[in-house]
């Protein structure tokens, strides 16, 4: 998936990935896509929950060796 920016959260535990995601998304324009790299398994549940709560669109979570790639579209 193509992203406008990438955020590296490898090695970080909850709540840091969502805290960094919230900050990073502020720098993006509405409609742009943020890619988040993370390896804390909680991210699989937390990112969808974060998106629901903040009104941003979760485009997908790709699972691969060593971690996850999460794609979020800034929606407002």
């Amino acid at each position: 998936m193509k992203a406008d920016a990438t955020l590296d959260c490898i090695g970080l535990y909850c709540p840091m990935p969502i805290a960094h995601t919230a900050n990073k998304l502020k720098e993006l324009e509405v409609g742009q896509v943020l890619e988040i790299l993370a390896d804390d398994e909680g991210i699989k549940e937390d990112m969808p929950a974060w998106c629901r709560a903040t009104g941003n669109e979760l485009l997908g979570i790709e699972e691969e060796a060593g971690g996850y790639k999460v794609y979020i579209k800034k929606s407002k």
Binding site: C14, P15, M16, I18, A19, A22, N23, A53, T54
Partner: protein, 158 residues
């Protein structure tokens, strides 16, 4: 209107402080407005680490000597073992790149979490405003807490 979260931080242990700051940082990251009320032993978390805590009267002096507080001095609620357990937990946290209480305080503040110190406990224990870190927004009582909590969606006592 922004959704509100209030946390009453009654405990002064490191592990409980971590839990409180995790929730606070998570909630502000989700666009919620977060207020942390530090009361009783919880005041230890927001005491400054440097210098001594001045108070009047022999009992309060003794209390503030034994209960010095400060984010770097918080014990573990379990397996503290005169500091050995805390040292080991600190090492595990650093190895896991998990932030310390100090760093969590800074992150919470940058994200806009409000810190309130309870004046009632301060009065009983004889702790003055000067004992606290400058990040504390205000000094207030139970009415301030309840005014926030009654509009809160999530209200926790830690």
């Amino acid at each position: 209107m922004q959704e509100k979260v209030t946390l009453v931080v009654f405990s002064g242990e490191m592990d409980k402080a971590l839990a409180a700051f995790n929730i606070a940082i998570g909630a502000v990251s989700m666009g919620m407005e977060v207020t942390m009320f530090f009361t009783f032993w919880g005041l230890n978390i927001i005491k400054r680490n440097e210098g001594s805590i001045k108070s009047r009267g022999i009992m309060r002096k003794m209390l503030n000597f034994m209960n010095r507080g400060g984010s770097k001095r918080l014990p573990l609620s379990k397996f503290h073992m005169f500091g050995l357990g805390k040292w080991m937990m600190g090492k595990l946290m650093r190895d896991a790149k998990f932030p310390s209480v100090d760093e969590l305080i800074a992150t919470a503040r940058e994200a806009g979490v409000k810190f309130i110190a309870c004046t009632n406990s301060m009065g009983i224990m004889g702790i003055s405003k000067e004992a606290f870190i400058p990040e504390v927004d205000s000094f207030a009582g139970v009415a301030t807490y309840l005014a926030e909590a009654k509009e809160g969606k999530v209200n926790l006592f830690i």
